[in-house]
């Protein structure tokens, strides 16, 4: 299948590990990603603009570009995913807003008819490609690696799209089939605070300490994420969390596509494993060297 790829701003550079691993895994599984030409920022949290039509039009420009390509959008960043998905839903639910947005898009010689589907790579891997197919392609058995799958908020909420909102299970299934062991991780959909790390740092540090603690207490060797913001908060701020709360967490944070890439036998540079800040630990290192 061919998909319209919407990397989003953080995947361009700061979270290149996600971008590289999504592309590598899709390639390995015979799926084609074609980057949307000249996409723009989705606008992230919509309240940023007090003007609703602006927020919707900014994000709808990408939907219109993908519609021209005639493909579903793949958006790996949870925030992009939820914003694009929500824009699509609101436009299809409220005809007046749809008309307003199209009036604005016309200024850029674009028109959107509401047909683009917004998808997350996890959805595509689990439902289009299929976990059975993926299992057959596993080259490195994860060998009982203890995994805490962290879904975060925005790929499962607010809309129930492809997994359960309270207890999503697709990553658990996927990695179990790759030979991993899923640890008990009740905070799998608990919020990391997102941008609060910038605006209310104390609160966000505590949220992330709780997440790291929950994973380590249950013996995880790695936390696997689906979102650049969760990843940034858990990884880049792990030092600061340790200093603030007098803890000594040192748990690697990987994108789910990076861990899947390891299982599929893809070269570690190709999936951006060299972009991490935290030592991968013996278990993962020995897997990669196999």
């Amino acid at each position: 299948m061919k998909y319209a790829y919407y990397p989003g701003c953080s995947l361009e550079k700061t979270q290149r590990g996600y971008d590289e691993s999504v592309k590598a895994v899709f390639r390995e599984l015979g799926q084609e990603l074609i980057e949307i030409d000249d996409w723009n920022c989705c606008g992230a949290t919509m309240y940023m603009s007090i003007q609703e039509t602006v927020a919707l039009a900014v994000s709808a420009r990408n939907l219109a570009l993908a519609e021209k390509m005639g493909m579903d959008i793949v958006a790996p960043c949870s925030s992009c995913y939820t914003v694009l998905f929500k824009t699509n839903r609101i436009l299809n639910q409220i005809p007046e807003m749809f008309a307003d947005v199209n009036e604005a898009l016309a200024e850029g010689s674009l028109n959107y008819s509401g047909k683009t589907k917004v998808r997350h790579p996890l959805d595509i891997l689990a439902n289009d490609v299929g976990i059975d197919t993926i299992q057959k392609k596993v080259k490195r058995n994860l060998n009982g690696l203890k995994i805490a799958p962290y879904y975060g908020c925005q790929i499962v909420r607010p809309d129930k799209t492809f997994d359960d909102r309270e207890d999503p299970i697709l990553m658990d299934r996927l990695f179990r089939r790759c030979g991993g062991e899923i640890v008990y991780f009740p905070m799998k959909v608990r919020c990391c605070g997102g941008m609060l790390m910038t605006t209310f740092e104390d609160t966000a540090l505590k949220l992330n300490r709780d997440l790291l603690e929950c994973a380590t207490v249950h013996g995880a060797d790695v936390i696997v994420t689906t979102c650049p913001l969760c990843h940034m908060n858990l990884e880049a701020y792990q030092d600061k969390i340790n200093r603030t709360f007098n803890t000594n967490f040192s748990i690697p944070i990987l994108y789910f596509t990076q861990l899947l890439g390891i299982a599929l036998g893809i070269n570690d540079k190709t999936i951006g494993l060299d972009s991490g800040f935290i030592p991968l630990g013996n278990k993962i290192t020995s897997l990669v060297e196999k």
């Binding site: 996409w39 919509m46 947005v101 850029g108 909420r157 919020c191 941008m195 609060l196």
Partner: protein, 227 residues
């Protein structure tokens, strides 16, 4: 609480204006009218990962709206600390879109300039929009640099070790890049702004009817489909 004494059956002009702006915002939310159905069970508060850091809980927001205490809500830090994780929205037993309601409250506060509780959120929002307008894409480095220059330059120095690590792992783009369709995007935004202005009532009329849930019901939103 605001501490002011409220007189039954009387609503101040400020309160009425705030309610009107807020209700206009609620109108934009699919299934927004469900705010009427709140049973004050507190599931939202219990589900919220940051309610412990709020001065007013999510449940109390709705109670205060119902009681005609919009100003108290506007002056709270609650609306700014919501990280929009949608846990409350998912669990609300009567289907209230609480996260969207909080967005509506934020927009109301921005419009009427109640920003004292968390000026840094407004700063970040403004810089984010500026960044988006200037390049079409977000350049995180510029955003963070400008944000800490405005809110506390000393904190910016704390980012040096992180920036160094990002540089070493090739995760730092030194300069922002404009998208090709930048001018077209600017035209789209300008037009959308004009359209938004059409929806803003020219003068806000005082009406004692903007009280309680009745005002929500009068908006005839029930025909709108929503989940």
């Amino acid at each position: 609480m605001s501490g002011s004494l409220r007189i039954p059956f009387f609503m101040s002009r400020t309160e009425a204006e705030l309610r009107q702006i807020f209700l206009e915002q609620v109108k934009q939310i699919p299934a927004g009218e469900k705010i009427k159905r709140c049973i004050q069970c507190g599931t939202c508060t219990g589900s919220c990962p940051v309610s412990y850091a709020m001065d007013i809980s999510p449940r109390e927001l709705i109670a205060l709206f119902r009681a005609g205490e919009m100003e108290t809500i506007m002056n709270s830090r609650t609306i700014w600390i919501c990280a929009s994780c949608y846990a409350c929205t998912t669990r609300c037993p009567v289907g209230i879109k609480i996260t969207d309601i909080i967005y509506a409250l934020k927009r109301t506060a921005i419009e009427k300039k109640y920003l004292s509780e968390a000026p840094q959120v407004q700063t970040l929002a403004k810089l984010f929009v500026e960044n988006l307008m200037a390049y079409g894409r977000l350049h995180e480095g510029t955003l963070i640099r400008k944000y800490y220059t405005k809110t506390g330059i000393t904190k910016l120095f704390g980012f040096i070790p992180l920036a160094k690590k990002m540089w070493q792992t090739k995760r730092l783009a030194p300069f922002p890049k404009k998208i090709k369709g930048h001018e077209a995007l600017s035209r789209i935004i300008k037009k959308a702004q004009e359209i938004d202005m059409r929806h803003v009532p020219e003068s806000l009329e005082y009406s004692p009817e903007y009280v309680g849930y009745k005002a929500v019901g009068d908006m005839k939103l029930e025909q709108r489909k929503g989940n």
